[in-house]
Structures are given as C-alpha cells and as structure tokens.
Subunit: 486 residues, 4 copies
C-alpha cells in the first residue's frame, strides 16, 4: 500500500504544466492560483480522508486486481457493500468541503469501463479489457486521480454529430496511426481537470449510431498532454475569489464551490494501449446507462445530501442568531428542508440496496437505475427549494451584507459590529460569517449545484425510458382489478 499524502498529491500536480486559462489570462502556477487552489485543496482533502483512521471503514478498499489495500477512490465496486461505502464517502466529503470533490467522475469512469471493456471483449473478441485493467492497476498502484471529460460542445442541439456544420463539435478521431490515434474536439463543463493526473475520456452523452464510428471513443491521457488547452469558467464567484484580499472573506474560504473548464483537444495523440473504445457505436448506450445509474446515485443523490446538511445547518443557525428559530413558520421551513434531504438520501440508499452485478458477468456492481434517477429528480426539484428556504430564514442581509473587510476598517467596523448584530449573545462576526456562508448557497451558485450535471429533461427522459416494462406490469394490475378483459 503506497497511498499518497495530501502534500505528495500537490507536489505531483505542481510538476505538470497544463496550458490553463482563466479570465483571459494564462495561469502560470496552477497550485498557487487563487481560483485553482480550492480545487487542489478539495482533491488533497480526498487524499487526507483516505488516510484518516476515522474513515477507514469506507476510505479504503481491496483491489480486485491485486488484492492490495487501495484508496476507495480508485476502486471498482465488487458488491453492494462497496456501493454503499462509496455513497457514504461522498456524503462525508460534501459535508467537509461544501462542494465538488472533483473525483467522482473519474471513479465512475473506472467502474463503467471495467464493465464496458469486458462487455466488448466478450462480444467482439477485442482486447480492451486487458488494456484497461493494466491502466487501472497503474492508477491504483500510484494512487492517482482522474476526471472524465464527457460533454461535447454539441453546437446545434437538434443535429447529430455528422450533421453539424463543424465536424469537431463532437470529439472525434481525425487520424488512425499504427501507434495510436489523433483526436480533435472539446469536452465542456469538466470539473477540475487541471487538478487530476489523468483524463479518462468518455463517448458523448447521446447513444451513437452506425456511421458515427469516429465519435465512439474512450481513452486515457495524462493531464498536460501536448495539444490540450484548459479554459476555465469565470463568473462572479470566480471574480470575487480572484479579487479577494484574504480568503477569509469568502463564503467557503478554503474550498469554494466548483471550478470547471472547457478541455480543448487540438489534434491530440493517444497511444493504442490507452484506447478503450474506438468505433464500437453499439456499446455507447451501455456506457450511458452504467454511468446514469452510478452518477445519479453518487453525485446527485449523495454529494448533494451532504451539501443540504450544510445548508440546513446554516439556516437553522442563522434562525437562532436572528432569534426566530421557535416561530412556527421557521419550524415549518426547516422541516420541509429535512423532508427533501431525507427523501433524497432514501432514494440513493434504495439505489445502492437494489444494486446488482452488471449482467454481462464482469463482476462490477451498479446501483438500481430507477432509484438513482428518483434521487436525481428529487435533488433537481429540491435543492433549489432548500436554498430558497434558507435565504428566507437568513433575511435580506444574505444579499445586502457589506464585506467582512469592513470589520478591519476603523471608520466602519464599529457601525457594522453594532448594527449587524442579531441576538445579543452572538458576536456580530459570527453572524456575518454565517450570512456569507449562506450567501454562497442562497444568493449564488445554488443553480450551479443543480444544473451542472445534466439538464432536468435528461433525467426525466431516462426515467420514462427505464419504465417500459414496469408500466406494462402496472397496466396489467389495473386491468385485472378493474375487470378489463382484452
């Protein structure tokens, strides 16, 4: 067992020199840049957690390849118990960092490819599985972190990849060589790609069809590979952090929220031993379904439950600071937040508990798709409601509060301390801190937390599609009881 310490992780990333841009400028040192540091901090925290004896029960796992103790972050689930521990890890991480851990997608990629490469090999006689297992062993032995670039640029959303004016709007092969392939395109909305060791690229978010073979691609390349450019998101939250005098004045000082980047592949070379799918369009649907069942459970239904704990806890705290926590309407609102939170966790737990081994025999376990989707939809509808209710409990100051810098300004600090006080027993500094924390959720990126993993309609469509047989069964039950004879 050679797990990395947080510092070893940071050092290993500092050596890579990806071409990262933010706010129109090249980032010189990704480890020190104010907007990228929180990403590094979050991933470092995952390394810390794996080594923390308090979390040993779920932080570590046993590799099915080597039998060695490894970090659960690079483990492929072999049982319902594995799925449950992975779920638990996500809840705890979200509670600790208040945002993305930047590693879910990478672990999902490992899990899905373990099953899908096995699937292809069984049916097509390919050797993807062998290549993939060798990559997986490399990941586990070196305790590396990965992300999973997946969402293409897509252009006109009504058009298939080949119907677009620009063929590069979906990532595709532009050249096949004896030693590998050359790819071109871009993957968007990618969470923290500059902070991982490897990019495990997945095929597009739509099932591909015959004729679209050049787009049916999966492969792994190291962060910083020649031809890659990383263009980061930049909005108010990033601007505020970039301009901050001290991180202490920000909503979540150390970890911030979520930093994504557009990852551009400008004729990037990938050696064959790192290619895990190339042209097998009929297997892209399988990848999507496997990802759907894991991602909705893990990211929507578990991570967000941990975030809701923070929002609920902050809302209850601010209600107490304001002196209103016993008012009937406050109790009602907190209860509604709790209902949303418990409901979402229940869906994720049911998804795990009804999980199954992938039917093709790879030994990889996946959660139940329907319950995963229910978790996802409840988060979608519920998370923003939780944030809005929290805003209501915080009151107008969650928006109108001045900067905490005023606390250091001799001309204004006395006024701020005097007039932003809530109940007499709580120092104004604490009330301001909690308001700023809530501002992060209720007056800011709450939409981001819900919307950055695929639109509502994707989940709705998926649920309906998964229910074909279930609907037939329900119809039968109704007809039987109604006495309809057909």
């Amino acid at each position: 067992m050679t797990l990395k310490t947080p510092q070893q992780y940071v050092d290993s990333i500092e050596k890579l020199k990806p071409k990262v841009f933010i706010a129109g400028e090249r980032v010189e040192n990704i480890v020190e840049h104010p907007n990228i540091k929180p990403v590094i901090n979050a991933v470092a925290k995952t390394y810390e957690m794996a080594l923390d004896p308090r979390y040993e029960d779920f932080g570590m796992a046993t590799s099915h390849l080597t039998g060695e103790k490894i970090s659960r972050w690079s483990h492929v689930p072999q049982s319902i118990d594995d799925l449950g521990k992975r779920r638990q890890m996500n809840v705890v991480m979200a509670q600790k960092i208040g945002g993305c851990n930047y590693r879910c997608a990478g672990t999902e990629a490992l899990q899905v490819l373990a099953a899908s490469t096995y699937d292809m090999d069984q049916k097509l006689g390919t050797e993807y599985s062998k290549r993939f297992n060798s990559f997986l062993r490399y990941m586990q032995e070196n305790d590396l972190t990965a992300d999973m670039p997946q969402t293409d640029a897509k252009g006109d959303r009504t058009k298939r990849p080949l119907e677009q004016e620009d063929p590069d709007l979906y990532l595709h092969v532009v050249e096949k060589r004896s030693d590998g392939i050359v790819v071109r395109g871009a993957k968007l909305h990618q969470v923290g790609p500059m902070a991982c060791h490897e990019h495990i690229v997945a095929p597009p978010l739509i099932p591909l069809r015959k004729g679209e073979e050049d787009y049916a691609l999966s492969f792994a390349i190291p962060n910083g590979t020649e031809g890659l450019t990383y263009i980061c998101q930049y909005g108010p939250i990033e601007a505020e952090r970039k301009a901050a005098e001290s991180i202490g004045e920000l909503g979540i000082p150390e970890y911030g929220s979520l930093l994504t980047a557009m990852l551009v592949f400008d004729d990037v070379f990938v050696p064959w031993e790192r290619v895990f799918m190339c042209g097998e369009v009929e297997f892209t649907l399988g990848i999507l379904n496997r990802l759907g069942s894991m991602h909705n459970m893990l990211c929507r239904g578990s991570c967000k439950v941990g975030l809701m704990d923070l929002v609920i806890g902050a809302a209850q705290t601010i209600a107490e600071y304001n002196g209103i926590s016993r008012a009937a309407h406050v109790i009602d609102k907190v209860t509604e937040m709790l209902r949303v939170r418990e409901t979402t966790e229940a869906c994720a737990q049911a998804a795990v508990q009804n999980g199954k081994e992938d039917p093709i025999g790879s030994g990889v376990y996946f959660p139940d798709l329907m319950f995963s989707l229910a978790a996802s939809l409840n988060t979608h509808y519920g998370f923003s409601q939780v944030a809005l209710l929290a805003a209501d409990l915080a009151g107008g100051a969650v928006v109108t509060m001045p900067s905490e810098r005023e606390l250091q300004n001799p001309e204004t600090s006395q006024y701020v301390k005097k007039y932003l006080k809530g109940v007499a027993s709580v120092p104004t500094e604490n009330r301001m801190r909690m308001l700023k924390f809530l501002q992060h959720w209720a007056a800011g990126p709450q939409v981001a937390a819900v919307y950055d993993e695929g639109s509502l309609q994707v989940s709705l469509n998926a649920m309906r599609a998964s229910a074909v047989a279930a609907l037939e069964e329900k119809k039968k039950l109704a007809k039987e009881l109604a006495g309809v004879k057909e």
Copy 2:
C-alpha cells in the same frame, strides 16, 4: 401450522353478531351486506395470500414464541428481513385489492405492544408482557385477525382529555373491578372493525401526562363484545355500492375502497388478562413513536405505493385507449407519477434497511422513524398529485360517463358503445370499465386514501421533533466550514 382458509375466515366472522349500523339502519348479516362484503373479501384475500405458494417467501413467518410456521400477518418482526417482507406483503396486497387490507393496524398493534409491554415490565415490574404474549400466542395459533382502535373523538382539539366538557371524548376507565375494568368512550375512523376477530385498543394519539391515568389504556376484546356499537361511514361511494344493481358496475367491484366505523364503547367490560396498559401515562409516548415508525412505513409508504401502481397503470392504459400515449405531455405526466412512486418506495425501503431492534431489548424490530416519516410526507403530497394527473389523462369522461347499466339498455346501449369509443381497436366496454376504475381514484376517494391515517401536520411535527440531534449535527458542520468559532 393451522392456517385458516379464506372460507374458514368468513365462517368464523359470520358467527359473530356485532351491532353494526350503516345509513341509519342496523346490519343484519355482516357477511352479506353490500357495504361490508368488500371488507370481508379484502381480509379473506389476506388469508388466501398466506396460503399461496407464489407468496410463500413473505407470506409465512416463524413465530418467535413457538417456533411454529405462522401467517406473517400475526408475526412480530424479529429482524430487518422481517420488516422487509412485511413491507413487500403490503405492496402486493394493495396491488391486488386496490384498497385497505384491514390488517396492518392489527399487526402494528401486536408489534408495538410486544415492545411496550416488555418495556413497562422492565421498568415497573408489571406483568403486562406475560399477559400480552399469551394473547399473541392465541392470535397466532388460531390465525386470527385484529384491528387497532386508536383515534379518540377528541371534541375540542385545543383541550386535553380532562379539560373537555364531556370526559368521554377520550376513551377511559370508568370502573376498576377485581376481575377487570369497565371502559367508556369511542374510537373513530376505525378501518373494518366488524370484519376482524379482535380489537386491540391503543392509547390516544397524544402523549398523556400525569393526572390522565384513566386514559392510558390498552387492551384486547373480541369483535361483538357486549356494549360495543359500530357506526359505519356512509358517503357517496357507500351509497353507490348499496344502490348498485350489480357490483360489476362499480369502480373496484369486489373490494371497493375503505370502510371505516366509529366504535362506541358503552361501559364495556375487559378482564384483567386482556389489559396491557392501565394508567402508565409515561409509556404512551413510546407507543406513539413505535407506531409512527411502523405505520408510516407500512401504510403510507408501502400500501400507497401499491395503489399508485394501479393508478399509474390505469392512467397509462386510458392514455393508450384514448390514442394519446405518445404525446410529450402525456409522457411527462406519467414520468412524474413514476417519480412520486419510486421516491415513496425508496423512503419505505430506506426505513426498513435502517431499521433497528427496539433499544429496550425486547428483540422487536422497528423501521427508521425519519425515513418512515419521509415516506409518509411524500405520499401525502404525492398521492393526490398522482390521482389528479391520472384524471387529466382520462379526460372529462372520468367524471361524466354514464352508468355501465346503459350497456344493457336496448334504448341506449348502441349509442354508448358508439360514442364512448376511443381508439378503434379497443372495445368501448373496456374503455368504460377503465374509466370507472379511474373515477374511483381521481374523482372520488383519493383524498380518503391520503387523509385517513392522520393529518399532515402530525407527520410534519413528528419529523421536526425527531430531528433535534440531526439539526445540531448539521449546524456543527456548517459552522466548521464557514469558519464560525463560538
């Protein structure tokens, strides 16, 4: 193992002669009365199911008292597996009869009293547990059915039992004798009490306080005991059934929906060996919490999931009969129904999976209270929405359809068959049948299905009360991350 057949059950009930009234009249033969027959049918179905080899896995259980094979309907859960099978049984029953099985409350009563009598004996040195176990053995050995009268008349809802003008508005002891007690009062909203063998009376739905000892009562008496009067509910659904020329013209011909009665105790004598609580006010809260965790999981979160299957199946069928099942808005509505259904089942499953042995050591298992309440609230908000969506898919005819008797009337049958036709391939008779079935849900007792097990606020209050510690934990998490130091 001496399980009753359905016919043996019916025969055993026919012998009892409870004083039952409906629509202002005394019921002479409860087994043949049109409004009571569906109740008998539903309970008979539970006996049929216990004997059905298809349901053997969950229909039967092993008594922890005798080690004998018994019907699960009189088993006290000894493990999470037991809770799960009990849950499954309720879902299947609801799918088969489209309404109340009339036995949940009775099995909950057995489970709760097994724990609560043990609890009292441990702490007070009483002998309730021995009495109760002897009663339980009697129930199991004779394969009997019970209900659980619980809701008192309550009068002025802002007043405690002793503050009411009429002390009988909560059931209470009026005399203690050497051989037993005499009780007076009424229990309302009781589901199918005339169709069971035993009434297991529970204390009121509010935790009692010192001074209210006369109201802290639990005991069992046979159906038809001297002094008992059963006054049945009577509304449009009951009137329609009573006036029907044939049950085939009703929404759910054999089982109907839900028949309740007010059970009046006019100085009823109960022998001491059937008294399981008498005056121990401090243990009434424990009974409520135990009931809450089981009832919300079982009745709200499992039975209603089975009912939703029927409503969803009927809605999808009628959409197909109407030719609209591929319209985008229809797919959206069905998907939303599925989301509600899956969410509720997930909560019930999570309640079971996180179930625990009662902490006092009785060996009895209960589901997790928070997840049970989440199931209950999701049903409360969701079930009527599911019914309304179904109505929307059915269209106006779900309300305006003529009686199916017209199909036998030579003057109107040709018109009805011609003009109530949907898609050409489906006989009008089937479309009318399905519309009538949906009318039952969407234009009738859907509110009943939601509201007859306690009001919304009870669940909301319970959830909030259960969350005290959880809220503290969440506050801690938020403060830690926000950097609040207190």
Copy 3:
C-alpha cells in the same frame, strides 16, 4: 320586459318531453327526478336572481337589438362594463348554488355567434347574421335559456374527424335538403341539457381544415327535438342523491354539483333558419378563440372563485368547530387558499379590464385571451389544492362520518351526537352538516370542478400559441439589454 319567474321557467321545462336516461333507466318526469331536480333548481335560481332588486345592477341589461330591458343571461356584451357585470353575476351565482348555473355556455354561444356570424357575412356575403339575430331576439323576448353542445365523441384522439373508423365520432351533416339539414353524431360532457329551452350547437374543439366541411356546423334546436337522446352521467354522487331518503342528508341539498349528459343526434333535422354555420371551416378557429377568451374568464376564473369562497368559508368554519383555527399551520393553510382565490379573481378581472371589441366590427366585446388563460391555469392548479387543504383542516371525519340519518335513529343518535362533537359550544348537527358539505368538495367531485371544461394541456397550448408576438417582444428587450447585436 317580460322576464320569466322561476316557476314560469319550471313550468315551461315541464312541458318538454326529452328522452332522458340515467342509471340505465328512462326518466319519466324530468322536473321531479331526484338527479335532475337540482339542475332545474339551479337554473330557476338564475331566473330568481334576474328579478331580485339586490342584483339589479348586474342582473339586467339593455338589448342592443331592441333597446328593451332584458335578463343579462341572454345579453350579448357591448362593452367592458358588460363583461364586468357578467363576471360578477357568475361569482355570485356560484356562491349561492355551489355549482354550475348551467347557463354560462349558452350565453357564451350567443356572444360568440353574434360575432362569428357577422364575421362570415362580411367576408363571404352569407346571411347568417340575420338568421342569428332573429334567433337572439326570440331568446331575449321569451327570456329563454340555452346550452351549447360542443365536445364531440372524438374516438381516437390522434385522428382527424374523417380519419376515424366511424365518421359519426364528430357531429356532421348527413343530408342537405331544401328546408334544412340532417345531422348525426353526439356531443359529450354537456351540462344540464335537459333543463334548457334551446341547444346552440358549436363546431368541434379543434380548428377544422379544408375537406372537413361537413363538420363545420353551428345551429340551434329546441330541447326535446325528435332524434335527440340524453344519456346522463352516473357516478357515486348521483347514486347517493338517487338513493337519499331526504335531500337534507346530501352535501349541497338543493343544488348538488354538476349533472352532465351525452347528447346523441340520431339524424336530427334542423331548418335552415336555425343554421348559423354550415361548411365554413376557416371560421371555426375564430369561434374557438372567441369562446376561449370568454369561457376561461367566466367559467374557470369567475365561477370557480365563487366556489373557492365556499370551500374557504367551510374550511375556516370547520377549523373553528374543531377548535384549531388559531394554530399557525391552520392560518398558513387558510392564507394559501386565499392567495389562490385572490390570484384567480385578479386574472379574471384583468381579462375583463383589458377586454376589447371584436376586431371585425360586430360591436361584441370579449375579454383578453392571455389573462383569461392565466385565470384558467391558476384555477386548474389551484382549485384542487384548495380542496385538499380544506380536507386537511376538516380531518378524517370528512371521509369517515356516518350518514346524518343516524341522527334520527334512536339506537345511534345519542352516540353520534356525543362523539362527533367538536368545541362544546357548537351543536354536533352543525359540525356534521359542515363536514358533509366539505365532503362534497374535498372527498368527491373536486376533480370534476376542475376537469370538466377541457384538459390542462388545451389551456397550456392555447397560452403558448397566444404568446408568439409577446415572446418576440421579450426577446428584443433581453437582447437590447444584454447588448446582443444581430
């Protein structure tokens, strides 16, 4: 001025002998039949109201044809003030009878045809307008009541009239003769057709196209015309009323809720002077839009506001009878009901206030379509919520209460009076009466009240279609402010 008294109206209807069926039987005397009497009572109430000096301000109007004082129920709106008074009349009627007044559709038909016949004459040189005005004058001078059969049988909802296997699934001309036309088909969901003097038939609820001329039909025929058959709806509410020992035991004793019938046209002859459209497919859309603007304002946005007043009033009363009216959650629920009610009325008022003369110059006024649709959608979403909230305040007894006949039964009356009591100061009889009234709304036909005037999707589609230009305008505003230059 020769307005009918209520009794004169009843006498005039008694003379007609329509072939009416309900529950599989022919109705001999429509004026005395328990299910039809409430319809007669409701219409009689409209006659009473027109003569009532308290309502003179809006009950009467001045005919634009004759300058005579007439009942507003047969007036065609000539101004915004007319629209407003019509709105007000509907609110008051709903408050007084708790259900359909059975005359809205007829007055809408007069209004729409006044505009549409004028429109056709202007553009096609036809003489429909002259025929129609002569009919309108007849209606006004004899103070008659009409309904408007409109919804066809429709069969397979994905198919146009001529694509159906049975061409009669939409009402159509089967013969044109020198003296008139012969029509065949059926109109469904028709409110109270047996209680009016005239049927003013409207074309289908879809805009017709070239080739569908035989279906583009509007005409008027007297109730009871040869070839007409009326087949009434029959469900739990109707069964309960039919079987009642006294109307006093019903939710709304005198007026009940809503009785519809399927109106079958089996080769019915219509003389040319009563034909107002025959083949002009391009004018059917105009009829739909005119109806949409008036009907959604009048029936959804005004009648339902009056009904909500009753439900809110009953909910508040039962809360007081139960002693809970000062609980915070009760106040919250009543406030939410009020919000829904005020919102819906605001939309209806805005529809009236933004009303306009029909652009073709007929002088007829119509409300604003967008605000009418907003009223309709708010009713659609809100009415059932109001009913469910009322059920929550009433508690389980709204479903489980016994018949009020028990109050006359010496064996049960004392028990019922004793145990269904709420606060001590209110007689149990009053509490039971109010519960029964609420049962009507909350455990019964509330879905009917929402769904019998067209499905949700119709309104949604209509709103979207009406907003084409508005959307363009909004886009322009956004682009301008965002600085998008195209």
Copy 4:
C-alpha cells in the same frame, strides 16, 4: 416645468459628498466608482424617460399642489388612472434597465406621507401636513429624487425596540431641541441611497406601541448630511464588477443589478420643518398599510413583471440559439414562465383597478391591499421558478462559461468561438453574451430580486390579517348553502 436632464441629475449628485464605503474602502468619487455608476445610470435613465416623448402619456403628471406639469416620479397619485400610469412606468423601466430604478421607495414615501400627515393633522391638530406639502413642492419644483430608509437593524427579532440590549438597534430620537431633533440608529438594505438627493425616513416595519414614542419617526434629510455613513453591500456580483476590465464583460453592462447600503445615523440633526412624525405611535400602522398596498403592487407586482419579461425573452432566445426551441419540454417551460408573468401582472392590475381614495379624505389614492399582496406572493413563489426554468433552458454553460475576455485572447479566442457555438447561424459572441445575461438571473442574484423587499412571512401574515371580514363572509356563504343554522 423645469425637469432635469440626465446630465443635470448626474452633476447635481456629483456635488454631494456622502461618506460611502464599499469593500472596506472609502469611495472618493461616487459618480465614477464602478459599483456606484450603475446606480447613477439607472436613476439618470428615469430622468431620460420623463423627457422621452414616447413615454409622455405616463412619464409626466400634473401636480395637485401647483397644477404644474411635473415628473410622475415625484407625483402623488390622485386617481386610479394615476396608479395605473405609475404601474406602467415601473414595468417599462424594469424592461429597460433590468433592475432596480432606485426611485420607487421615494415616490411611495411621498404618497404615504401625503396621506399620513393629513391623517395626523385631522385627528391630532398637528401641522405635519403643511410641513410635508412644502417639502413635496420643493421636490417637485426641483425635480429631485429620494429614497426611503425604512428597515432597522432589529437585533434580536423576538424583541421590541426597547427590549434590545442596545437601544440603537431601531432608529430613535436621542435629543429634542428647539430647532429640531437628533437621531441615532441605522437603516439597512437601503437601495441606492448615495444616488438620491433626499432621504425620506419612515418608521420601523412593525407597528409601534405606547411607550415606543422615540421610535415613531419620519423626516427628510439631504444625502450627505453630517453624521450619515453609507456602507455598501459587497458580494460576488459587486466584486466581479469592481474587477472587470470592461463593463462589456458583465451580465448587464450599464445598469447591473441592485446596490444597497446600510445607512448609519450617528447623531444626525433634523430641523423641525423636515420632521413629519415624531412620537405618534398610533399612526405607524397606517403608514405600514399604505406602504404595503403600494409597494407590493409597484415593486413586487410591476417591476418584477418587467424583469420576468427579460428572463423569458432571454430564455426563449437561448433556446433558439441552442436549437431546442421546438422541443415539447421547452415549450412547456416557456409557457409556465408566461403563466407566472401574466398572473403577477393581473394581480397588480387588479390592485390598481380596485384602488381607492384613502378613507381619511386626503385625496391620495392607494391600490387594493389584497390584490397587491397576491401580486407579491405570486412574485415570491414565481420569480425564482422562472429563473430556474431559464437556467434549465440555457444548460450548463450558463454556469461554466469562460470570461468573454477570452474572445480577445489570441491563444483561446478561436477555441471559444469554435466550441461555444450553438446553431450555425448565430455568432458565438451573441450566444456567450446571452448566456452571460442569463447567468446574472439564473446563477446569481435572482434570490436578491425576490428577497430584498421583506420576507415571505411578512406578506403571508399581512394577507391573513387583511382577510378577517372576508373570511366571515365566506363562512356565511358556506353555512347558508350547507344549511347550517346557528
């Protein structure tokens, strides 16, 4: 008529030297500071609009004091027509600047004080009205702008002003002198106070009681008066603007969103001729009710309708840019946005149309309170839903988009232009611009737009309180129909 031009307004503000702080620093030149300039721009736009012939119909009014033509922004409504034009002005302003116009509260203050000072004089024989009219004339003749500081610091929300540990948590008189009064305290959440000429201070948001005379205060003082300190809000949106290289990269370049400040009164002197209330606690409720009726109509129900137009327009535009505008779910979402918007406008219109002269005879008109509150609640529930739906149509890029600065960066501009393209016909620059505009609403201050004018509960409480008589009336209607005789 001597209306100010926009430039004259800016010049007049530049001369004032208020002590303004933001982000911990003193603002030297308020007219040039990046965070304050948008406020100045918005107010300047109100001056431009008053002079714009296109808006003449509602931009100008006739003073009831002088009979002169004046800007409607300083006019006191004398009729329903005045209320309607004021409403219209707010909608148009919101459509043009996409945020607060910073003048509503000031005009509300003039309107309310015109009535309340008259009220006090009538009942108490004071001379407030004369003082106030002389101030109003000064405002009108010099075409000045005002704000209305109203929300106090409040401290412990369960405590009255005098129960607070610090008596200054509500603004109060600390000294009464022969020439005026000295006041201390702070007013929070004040919109744009540094950009107006006058502050018209209102009493607290709770009705005051006997003994709290020192807090019953209303007066006017010029911006920049000695003793005043302005501490501005500072969050992500402000940080982004402060750090912007060019305003073109911001969501709404010229006007931004909403800038508030905390206004500290450190022993500020107010001469008696500027004092409009001092100690008359029994008149504070009247001020609150008058404000409630106008503010909810004007700010919640009209301004927000204009903002919704922008969000809906942007959502429809981005759907078209993405190529998805014809998808059924997109049409459904846009329709739902329209329903919310039309509903809110209807409520505001109904509030105006049912407006009345203040009953005390001052001649001042106010909108109907119930409909104003309905507008407010619909905005409260609906605005965030509109924003969330817009986010859903925009897709993940609304959060993850890079800075538009990248378009100027030779290393990234080609990638951004290539891969952020939607449909081929739309330049990427336009799509990015529209995404950034939507980010402003959907991933940012949408909560602010809803929450900065008082919490949900305030409106809920107000609606319930206004409905006492209406509820009685509804109860009467229900009892009459149910046949309840009391």
